[in-house]
Subunit: 300 residues, 2 copies
């Protein structure tokens, strides 16, 4: 946990507050989010994590008012519950917690792929709760509670993915939450569109970066690496568990993107192989133009 | 030119100095290098650039004592001449300047590929001069004099690529120059080895980054992009002229690297296509292990 953060954590009142939030899973993202949520609606925040010592650490760090190992206890009476666990843990967890949700509770998750998850949740959601997933476009190479940092959301993107049934008030709540945690840019996007774009900006990018490290030149010393190599391989030290799940869950979209990427690289390969300088130049030029076009959109 | 830099430029005495350097080409790299070289051996520095206004700007910025458009005038009496121009400009420039080099002058270049260049220089070098190329592992996405910054070399890598005939004193001179401009890590490497490793750390990396921008998802908005995408596509807005030349000059090595990369990406593709989670996990895990292994080497 970042030291700079401790100072913000003490203020939230405890017993008298009326709004209650629960963060299930206090790893890198859950703990960062709990910390960033401090002060939001002056809420009391409970946490849940399977690791007893993470619960204690979270309490000591002041990012939650109380943390317990049993999620169904933690979610009791919460107005807002955010699942910050691997996607495949959410359905069984939801089943276990379903009797403990208060009437009208808003449920959310922070998973990076939505369609596959939402399909699995369809039969588990009761009309007494409202569901709206979010996807904070933030993170770090290294996971776990000890790497958590509430500032990780500052100026980052945040995607809100409602179900067709999601109430507009719940989308609005997520917009306010996004503002509170410092997100710089928010978009509301249907799950399928979300997954298709994310397959490009996130899944393909991580595959491209990891791919660069599958067959490194054995003599790659520090004098041979410049900023380009360091930047392009920054996320190559990937969490294999998390990313295997993410890529499998977004399999169809990611396959399409990856195949297009391999095809595009093949064009560069062919231009090089046939010494076709004009074709090579045109490809590089187009990449630059597309990149500048995107940059313009980012800064608009 | 970075403002912070102007202050350093005034000190070097002018007429009385005995060591003389010449930087040919005052674009991003040449101007940055000239600025960073200020004070080295208390040398007088001349510059050459085909653009008259760049010559004037370089004089006004104080990075050179004098700049002219004719390289053969600029190199006269220089103890050290560094060519900071595209590789294909170097042989004709050398031919034009050959009569102007002083006896014992050290010639150098900063090109990113060495074997192809050195082959073209073989018949042009007289025994009266000594040649030793360098490759500063530094740069920026945007070129030109106006983007120059002598601080670009700070803590970056610098590769020294001697010819078999290069005198040890000239290699030593380049080491001292590297220290002066603030390079953090220096390696002496034969041209072929240099080109093979650079094909991985630089050529392939730039291709991978550019490739990511050849077929962007049309709805890629700012909320969908996180640090990974921004980092991995940072150098995608590539100088198509410079990189067409660099990639063609290092064609064989780059092809090998690019084909290996496409093959590795194909393995990830196959694991996804066949829903082989174990294979996918193993590939991601290996990428992470290789990356950590490299990081260890970088920080050693």
């Amino acid at each position: 946990m970042r030291v700079a953060f401790f100072a913000r954590c003490v203020k939230s009142g405890v017993e008298s507050v009326s709004y209650k939030m629960c963060v299930v899973g206090l790893g890198l993202m859950g703990a960062s989010l709990a910390g960033a949520l401090r002060g939001f609606r002056e809420a009391r925040i409970t946490g849940a994590d399977v690791l007893e010592d993470v619960c204690r650490k979270a309490e000591r760090a002041g990012i939650v008012d109380e943390a317990v190992t049993d999620a169904s206890t933690a979610v009791r009476d919460a107005d807002l519950v955010i699942f910050c666990v691997y996607a495949h843990h959410i359905p069984p967890m939801l089943e276990r917690c379903v009797g403990a949700f208060r009437e009208g509770a808003v449920l959310s998750d922070i998973c990076g792929v939505k369609s596959a998850l939402y399909a699995r949740l369809a039969d588990l959601l009761s009309p007494h709760v409202d569901y709206v997933g979010i996807h904070p476009m933030a993170g770090k190479e290294r996971g776990g509670f000890d790497n958590a940092d509430p500032a990780v959301f500052k100026n980052s993107g945040l995607l809100i993915c409602p179900l067709p049934s999601t109430r507009p008030e719940s989308v609005e709540l997520m917009r306010k939450l996004a503002t509170h945690i410092g997100a710089g840019c928010v978009a509301v996007t249907p799950p399928v569109e979300h997954d298709a774009i994310i397959a490009y900006t996130s899944d393909l990018t991580h595959i491209a970066s990891a791919g660069l490290c599958l067959s490194p030149h054995p003599d790659t010393g520090p004098a041979f690496t410049a900023g380009a190599f360091r930047d392009c391989t920054r996320v190559a030290d990937i969490n294999a568990d998390a990313w295997t799940e993410l890529l499998m869950d977004n399999r169809a979209h990611t396959l399409t993107r990856l195949e297009t990427y391999i095809e595009d690289l093949g064009k560069i390969r062919n231009a090089l192989a046939t010494r076709d300088q004009a074709a090579l130049h045109a490809l590089l030029k187009r990449a630059g133009e597309n990149k500048r076009e995107m940059l313009k959109r980012w800064t608009r």
